[in-house]
Symmetry: C2
Subunit: 408 residues, 2 copies
Amino acid sequence: MSFAFEIEATRERARKGRLLTAHGAVQTPVFMPVGTQATVKGVPQDVLEELGVEILLGNTYHLYLRPGVEQIRKLGGLHRFMSWPRAILTDSGGFQVFSLSDLRKVTEDGVTFRSHLDGSAHFLGPEQAMEAQIGLGADVIMAFDECTEYPADAERARSSMEMTLRWAERSKQYFEEHNGEVPWGHQPLRLRSGQALAVSRQEDLVRVVADVHSRPKPAELRSAGRAWRPAPTQAAPTQALFGIVQGGMDHALRKESAERTIEIGFDGYAIGGLSVGEPRGLTREIVEGTIQHLPADKPRYLMGVGTPEEIVEYANLGIDMMDCVLPTRAARHGLLFTSEGKVSIKQARYAGDEGSLDPNCACRVCQRYSRAYLRHLYAANEVLAQVLNTIHNLSFYLDTMRRVRHSI
Amino acid sequence: MSFAFEIEATRERARKGRLLTAHGAVQTPVFMPVGTQATVKGVPQDVLEELGVEILLGNTYHLYLRPGVEQIRKLGGLHRFMSWPRAILTDSGGFQVFSLSDLRKVTEDGVTFRSHLDGSAHFLGPEQAMEAQIGLGADVIMAFDECTEYPADAERARSSMEMTLRWAERSKQYFEEHNGEVPWGHQPLRLRSGQALAVSRQEDLVRVVADVHSRPKPAELRSAGRAWRPAPTQAAPTQALFGIVQGGMDHALRKESAERTIEIGFDGYAIGGLSVGEPRGLTREIVEGTIQHLPADKPRYLMGVGTPEEIVEYANLGIDMMDCVLPTRAARHGLLFTSEGKVSIKQARYAGDEGSLDPNCACRVCQRYSRAYLRHLYAANEVLAQVLNTIHNLSFYLDTMRRVRHSI
């Protein structure tokens, strides 16, 4: 086992725990910043570390197209490529194929699509999505699924769910046959500069690696007069594979999807197909209904959610992992989240405002710069606006989740 | 005196020294990064501090148009506005009026021009340029000059030089009457976060402020039976004003411009009107010729120069201060300066290059990221490309000047 999930405390339905990955521990519930193209737009990796980011999300679709999976694999995987020593999760690429590419054609095999960059033709099915994610080498990878559109009628929701289940099966099979090919299996888990992982993380890592290596070694067995056989699982730390529950907005289908996905068996379970245009009340209802059918001892990942209020709400319902482009994308549009509500920093009212963006925030932006300066940077179309705004919004999201964890 | 220049060592024509400003000491020869709109594009202020930047350049033309001088003055001046506790130099705005604005009309009074942002009409003459620079509150400000175009015939070069001299006179007069209005006169020299200036800088500052206050205090004089009179100069630390030598590419005019500018009397002397399209050999010739006519005990500032080779060359000729957009602008175009020569990071040859950008560079970019990653960021049009490239190029320029200083 190179991946484990420990629950340390619960409060009503909420759980506080840790994912133990080959690239360190991740405290949950966790919000995962999105680093689409192997970068959280505008933020250097050391600043992400300083913010306390323990896991990043990378988008397989984007990385598959540019710079290409093979390129990243040859360079030792995504961690090494982007110099990020902590955990990474990649999506399967399916969602972006549906939302970004042209001329997609879905068959039982998978999806044929054209690149949004250059119009070139590509094919992505469960095996290709697994191959790509193994090549990228994230700690947590996702089964290939079809994100059912909203609205969808009963027949369409079922047939889409059935295909996701068949794809889940194929994803798992490919993963089991190939997960030993992960590029970081034999790479040192250190930065080129020799900077070691933080001590607490290293302890976690040692523990995970110790688990892997705790089976008796050949010499020990031989001296004990017993035969040594290779263990059935990989000896080196490897990736975790999560399945995705679909089923549209239908409770019965969601239940069935959850049960049959669990039957296939994954290291964790995601709830997909939400935040696709449905009303927020319905999202919550489906999340609440679906969680009941997920195993208590595995991590639960709600994909593509949400606002600061929503991530608190879902963590309190028992969700362990979330990701969303909202904090980073909103930052680029000058929309900032603060303890006093949203601030649209482009507004003229902030031009002479000497105050901190958020007086209750300890991030390096709020500690150093005024609203007047941030407003000027935005109005002057300066790149530093994007950099500082993103740092603050991420800090706000991470602080929010820290508070949720402390409350459990 | 709130501004002083000390020469600590010389080697042939080169000088090693320190500018002592109200915002800390600046080791010379110095390269000043350009922070046009109150930001060095893409680089947070703490990173500039970490790089060892001791003085930044701000552009009066840009800040005058946006957010406006009055806005910055009300917010305590440029240091406080951008949260930069170290020294700042502003140009007079003249050069940008000539290079960026439309419909400019030059008269004896000054220049009428239209904003490149919104077409609005403005007027900038020596008095307005001084008023703007006093309002911004940089440590070193520049007399309003006309940058003579290249090529210019003898008559044009002389008449332009004569006007610059008359404008220098008016600049100085306005400055002497108004420099007490600098907005940081009574502002604490600390960041809002309470972060103090680095100790060595604070010592310098204490020393400068001690100079200001070393005149006997009223009580001391009274107890000695003498009358106390306010000193003729400002008691609070204030700005330094530099004059600018023009004269085109004519040695005799340059000599005359230098002598007559010195006669007016400034805290330092700049060589302007170079890097305007003339061959590099001619630039060097004019710099070398002009330096001879500048006083040895005042700082010499060569404006708008240059490549890494040029900044070394001019420092060795006895120049103390330089500024140029080259390292920052080139970075944004993927052109990086390294100890092994220029690297155009966009080239496909770097796509699989695991090496550091510059193996001899200790900057945070070279310590952490590979050429392959930097190439990917650039190719994917990611903002982090600009951020990291700029940090490296500035580091390279600052290291270059550090080596020059050590060699003197």
